[in-house]
Symmetry: C2
């Protein structure tokens, strides 16, 4: 595919100067409109070594309004990045809505280099490319404009440029440059495959001949401009009917179908003496497992979901009591900050993924998307429906990295909830835990039940199954959770 | 000082239960009021090993509303932290306004441990304590409530507890515990000094006897509650007149005094041929210096300030053109996000301090505090006046860490500014750079001049002097900046 851009395009200075001013005006106008429309723009700068990618970055800085533009480079990983799933470093630098993120190096870099060096097999490579395609689809579904630019030069041109570059640059890196020259053909084959497998409607590739600087820069400008204008046109077009249709869960006249929650045995309980014994035993196991996790540099994520008043807070504290305070963080999920709102909904959870040897406990989580946001219509139908897959992909990345991931649904019945609400109203130090919203949510019990059922069905994967915890008896629930945590950690660290 | 809390205080279960409910109600109410008042609360949990600090953290989680509370632990440094000035890790985790940050381990930990191990001299130790006091004063001036808790147990109690703890905890860390037991006396002496030198009005220490769990927890709760209520009382009291008085810079009837800007020779210029030659020479030097910086793992911060239309953007691009795009980040300073607004004004700049081997270019900077915020009354008199010291302390930390820090003021005169404004209005692709605000700011030229003069006078330190750049001729300014950067990097890397 690269042959098509090895035709020696070039542009005179006069031609360049005749196009540049109006191109810049148009780019600025498009950038402003995209900012006003709160579209996050991702420009990926990639291609052959020696194609002048740095110059392109510099040129776009000149042409665009830099107050609204951030350039991110992915080079050496820090240990904070290495100790987390690979996409953490990309998530942490994604541009906010209304801004442009120029990515110099990207999610493509490592898979391509690894494949060129034969560090990964061709099927592992394809798998990475598939992950990239999914990731870009997720961003694009969230409203992002992704402009992928690949700068190409022929082999002879590269050889010459690298020689030139080596002369100017101080020692230490010439081997890196040599490698590129030597591996040109292999790099070309691998890149072609990468481009082909990720060239999708949501995020097409643009291959630009980079032999002549002026031609390269003007073509880049025009390509970026066209992509921006296309996006703006699409925004102006009448919204197509929301994708996907609601899954029918009940039928008029029929009795409510059983859900997975109905099979939870809520009569299970622990007596006081037994509870104290079991709690201490389980906490001691978690205490030891926590230190072993630390020493083995493994990380762990616990997710707590459940009905209002199901006892999430108390259960979380029984876990953290058993852990050295330096080993864990509890993240209560409340209203998002505006930086969080300006990103994909998973961004705020990626933020808190623990480093090696640490644990994060999420008090409510990304499942809000398919629970409260679904039931209360905070998310559109297509948004919460595709969230199942997005969440599964996310959790797969966590577990692939070796994170021990456990998800708890604390289940109580309506009668027990009412009893606890009343108790909260009468006990002074519990009153902050009960609001009118809680009573209102109760009236939508059945809707939530359907949502929970579907959530458990669709996101109980073999790598991250749900644990449904009977929680009518708090003592039983706490011990159940502690032993589940201990079991999982002991097994993972064995 | 610790003798006073070695008196064996303890509390029965009945006593505990009689106090706990109303204490919790009061704590929750105080927390809510502080949230409504947008006060950031910092609770520092420190003290002797074995005093049950982890249990205290857990207890406060139980008593407070966790949706509004984050616990941060400072333990192993990551390389991202090691490669930056030491306070970077504290800045990145400071609580936002209206939230509580519980710090388990803090800025006290390392100096104390280092001094116990004799890794630092007593004067270095005192210096660190002085820095801590300044840091806490800065936070407190910004409205933060700092509650510092020190948990103490006698030597015999510690020995017993550590033995107990060792039994439960899996291998690998017993040497750490032994160290604490062995070094108890030395730790005690060092801690006493730390507490004494940092026990100031803005952030007093509270020493709590931790021999009996119930006594420790209730005393903690009451101490936190009292501190919160005191803060709320202070907020309710009528505001005292703003501290400090404006520095008289002009006298009625007298001619405007000369400022440092008047001594800048604006006639300096470069002809085209000379410019092209000099530019290339300087960029080549910066190119090499950039790679040397990278190889030497040094970091570099460039600050660009100057009159509107002085040519900051163009000058910055001439620097970045000379650098590999992976080596630098440009941070344009626009309106803060709400996460930024919810912190001390320096927080958003700390965020972007580069890692080892990288450079950050700030397009406008923390100096906004003493320029636009001063002139436009966005900051109160006492706020911008104390900013000089805060900024000097900040920059001292950067340079002490080995960061090469350069600050440029691009100076033009009023006539040149007017010429450029007019040009911007007529050239289409420059129109986004000129707004009504720019014309308005122009009318306050003299106020800005006074502010710039004072800024240069007060923040030209020996570790971070200002470079005043004559910028009526853009070409001269660009070459001047590039050679200054090259000189500084070459000297630092020599």
């Amino acid at each position: 595919m690269f042959e098509t851009v090895e035709i020696g395009q070039h542009m005179s200075k006069a031609e360049f100067e005749s196009v540049r001013p109006q191109l810049q005006v148009a780019l600025l106008a498009a950038q402003r409109s995209l900012r006003d429309s709160q579209v996050p723009v991702i420009i990926i700068i990639s291609g052959v070594e020696g194609a002048g990618k740095g110059h392109v970055v510099s040129r776009l800085h000149e042409w665009l309004d830099v107050r609204n533009l951030e350039t991110v480079t992915f080079w050496d990983e820090s240990d904070e990045e290495r100790e987390r799933p690979r996409y953490w470093r990309f998530w942490r630098t994604l541009p906010a809505r209304g801004t442009i993120g120029m990515l110099f190096g990207s999610w493509y870099t490592k898979p391509i280099i690894d494949r060129v060096n034969r560090d990964i097999s061709s099927s592992e490579f394809d798998r990475e490319l598939h992950r990239i395609a999914e990731f870009e689809r997720l961003l694009s579904n969230d409203g992002a404009l992704i402009i992928k630019l690949w700068f190409h030069i022929a082999k002879e041109v590269q050889q010459e440029r690298l020689k030139e570059d080596k002369k100017k640059r101080p020692g230490g890196t010439s081997s890196y440059l040599k490698m590129f020259a030597k591996l040109y053909d292999r790099f070309r084959t691998v890149s072609e495959r990468a481009i082909r497998l990720t060239d999708q409607g949501e995020s097409p590739w643009h291959i630009i001949e980079a032999t002549d600087d002026r031609y390269r820069d003007i073509t880049t400008g025009i390509t970026v401009l066209n992509a921006m204008q296309e996006k703006l046109d699409a925004l102006r077009a009448p919204t197509p009917p929301s994708e996907g249709t609601a899954i029918e869960t009940t039928y008029p006249g029929e009795p409510d179908p059983l859900t997975v929650l109905d099979r939870v045995d809520l009569t299970q309980k622990l007596e006081d003496t037994e509870y104290r014994k079991e709690l201490e035993r389980a906490q001691n196991r978690v205490f030891r497992a926590g230190w072993n996790m630390r020493n083995a540099r493994r990380n762990c994520v616990l997710v707590f979901e459940g009905w209002d008043a199901a006892g999430k807070g108390g259960a979380i504290r029984r876990v953290t009591q058993a852990l050295d305070a330096r080993l864990y963080r509890t993240i209560p999920i409340a209203a998002p900050t505006d930086e969080e709102r300006a990103h994909h909904y998973l961004w705020r959870f990626w933020r808190h993924i623990p480093r090696a040897g640490r644990m994060t406990l999420y008090d409510r989580s990304w499942y809000g998307r398919v629970l409260v946001e679904r039931v209360e219509n905070f998310a559109r139908l297509d948004e919460w429906q595709r969230a199942y897959k997005e969440i599964n992909d996310f959790e797969e990345q966590l577990t692939e990295h070796g994170i021990v991931l456990l998800k708890f649904w604390l289940h109580i019945d309506q009668a027990e909830q009412e009893r606890r609400f009343r108790e909260r109203e009468t006990i002074a130090y519990k009153q902050h835990k009960i609001t009118a919203d809680d009573w209102r949510n109760r009236s939508r019990w059945r809707d939530y039940e359907i949502a929970v059922n579907e959530m458990v069905a669709r996101t109980s994967t073999n790598f991250a199954p749900w644990t449904l915890v009977p929680a009518n008896d708090k003592k039983f629930a706490r011990v159940k959770i502690l032993t589940t945590v201990a079991d999982a950690l002991e097994q993972a660290l064995d």
